[in-house]
Amino acid sequence: MLANYFPIFVFIIIGLMMGIVLPTIGYFLGKREPDPEKNSPYECGFEAFEDAHMKFDVRYYLIAILFIIFDLEIAFLFPWAVVFKDIGMFGFVAMMIFLAILVIGFIYEWKKGALEWE
């Protein structure tokens, strides 16, 4: 059973290797003439005057938190969907109750303006 996953493991390693081999080729074929101007971060011709890791909008955090809730919901839906044809009416009603609770939460966050970007 687990042996089926071995080719996937090899594939992931080869995929990551592509990310090592290609830059290595470029590293040896390309020229290397570092200079302080060239190596400074691009800022429309200005010199970069401060660290670029600046503060950013809190709404990105909010989106990430909402994402986790919904992604978990999808994780719950996956096994249910696979056996859906076997569990019939009972399974359907149970999942609808679960979805209804989540939809209430979704409506709440919508009304609260968590999904607004001006």
Binding site: I12, D51, I74, F84, M95
Partner: protein, 339 residues
């Protein structure tokens, strides 16, 4: 000895999958430039080789000889790891794609779950690339892009749930076989809203026009890969196009019956019996890839608030409603799909 032989055949199979993908990526860039060129009444690349056929090769060679610049303020380790984290999953996801009846590298039961996991990983590559560059444009673009990708992953996930309910299996081969019976039996018809939303979310996931806010060349100068050059940049490019082809393949498999012939069950079936299934899969993928290019030539870029509104307030409610509708249809054994 036997284990070694197994390992070598596995690696050979992987090479047989990866090389055509890389070739497809190269010629997808050519097709993109040509098709968009003709749509805008230009000719597109036509200098290198006959009708510009060698243009992608020339581009690759040029990339190889370009200097790889690592900015002084950048986090060097993360800067180099980021493209690796993008290309790895973009290629590895192909392990479970069935190219024809039984022709698949790893025939696992959790195929769709694996695909979902691999496509979700791309957000890490983009986040790390933007953060490690230590450039303002890169950071802005990375935040936008991360929020966009995770937002559109939700409708995408719900669309997958719909496919699972209809097919009753996570194995991609079985999902295809569940659609047997000709063009009207494929899932694009009973799952039509999910089909449209899946593909549009896929366009947003791969940061393509009209959802290419992460690039936004007119405002944030190509975004998260602004500091990358040479082969490191080429990997971002490679991963983006490999992901486009992957999304097209998945859309073809889940909604257009993968390698099944569209004429199954009709009088044309014997006429087209000689066509290999692989051809049908590629033909269906080409439709989606053409749509990708067509979108780019046609639509202006979305604004960020419009993008978020579309994902959260339009796509997610529609998918939720359609999952309920689909549940009722399956319980009622609606013919011909769920009988």
């Amino acid at each position: 000895m036997e284990a070694l032989l197994y390992l070598i055949t596995t690696i050979l199979k992987i090479v047989v999958i990866v090389l055509p993908i890389l070739l497809c990526v190269a010629y997808l860039t050519y097709a993109e430039r040509k098709i968009i060129g003709y749509m805008q009444v230009r000719i597109g690349p036509n200098r290198v080789g006959p009708r510009g056929w060698l243009q992608p090769i020339a581009d690759t060679v040029k990339m190889m000889f370009k200097e790889i610049i690592i900015p002084t303020n950048a986090n060097r380790l993360l800067f180099v790891i980021a493209p690796m984290l993008l290309i790895g999953p973009a290629l590895a996801a192909w392990a479970v794609i069935p190219f024809n009846a039984g022709v698949v590298l790893a025939d696992i039961n959790a195929g769709l779950l694996y695909i979902l996991a691999m496509t979700s990983l791309s957000v890490y590559g983009i986040l790390i690339a933007g953060w490690a560059s230590n450039s303002k444009y890169a950071l802005l673009s990375t935040l936008r892009s991360a929020a966009q990708i995770i937002s559109y992953e939700l409708p995408m996930g719900f669309a997958l749930v719909g496919v699972l309910m209809a097919a009753g299996s996570l194995n991609l081969g079985e999902i295809i076989l569940a659609q047997e019976g000709g063009i009207l039996h494929w899932y694009w018809l009973p799952l039509f809203p999910l089909f449209v939303i899946y593909f549009l979310s896929g366009v947003a996931e791969t940061n393509r026009a009209p959802f290419d806010l992460a690039e936004g060349e007119s405002e944030i100068v190509a975004g998260f890969h602004v500091e990358y050059s040479g082969m490191l940049f080429a990997i971002f490019f490679l991963a983006e196009y490999a992901n486009m082809i992957l999304i097209s393949a998945l859309a073809a498999i889940m909604f257009l019956g993968g390698w099944l012939s569209p004429f199954q069950g009709s009088f044309l079936e014997p006429v087209f019996a000689w066509v290999p299934g692989f051809f049908w899969l590629v033909a269906k993928m080409s439709i989606f890839l053409f749509l990708y290019l067509w979108f780019r030539a046609t639509f202006p870029r979305y604004r960020y608030d419009q993008l978020m509104r579309l994902g959260w307030k339009v796509f997610i409610p529609i998918t939720l409603v359609w999952i309920v509708v689909l549940g009722i249809a399956i319980l009622a054994k609606l013919p011909p799909w769920f009988a």
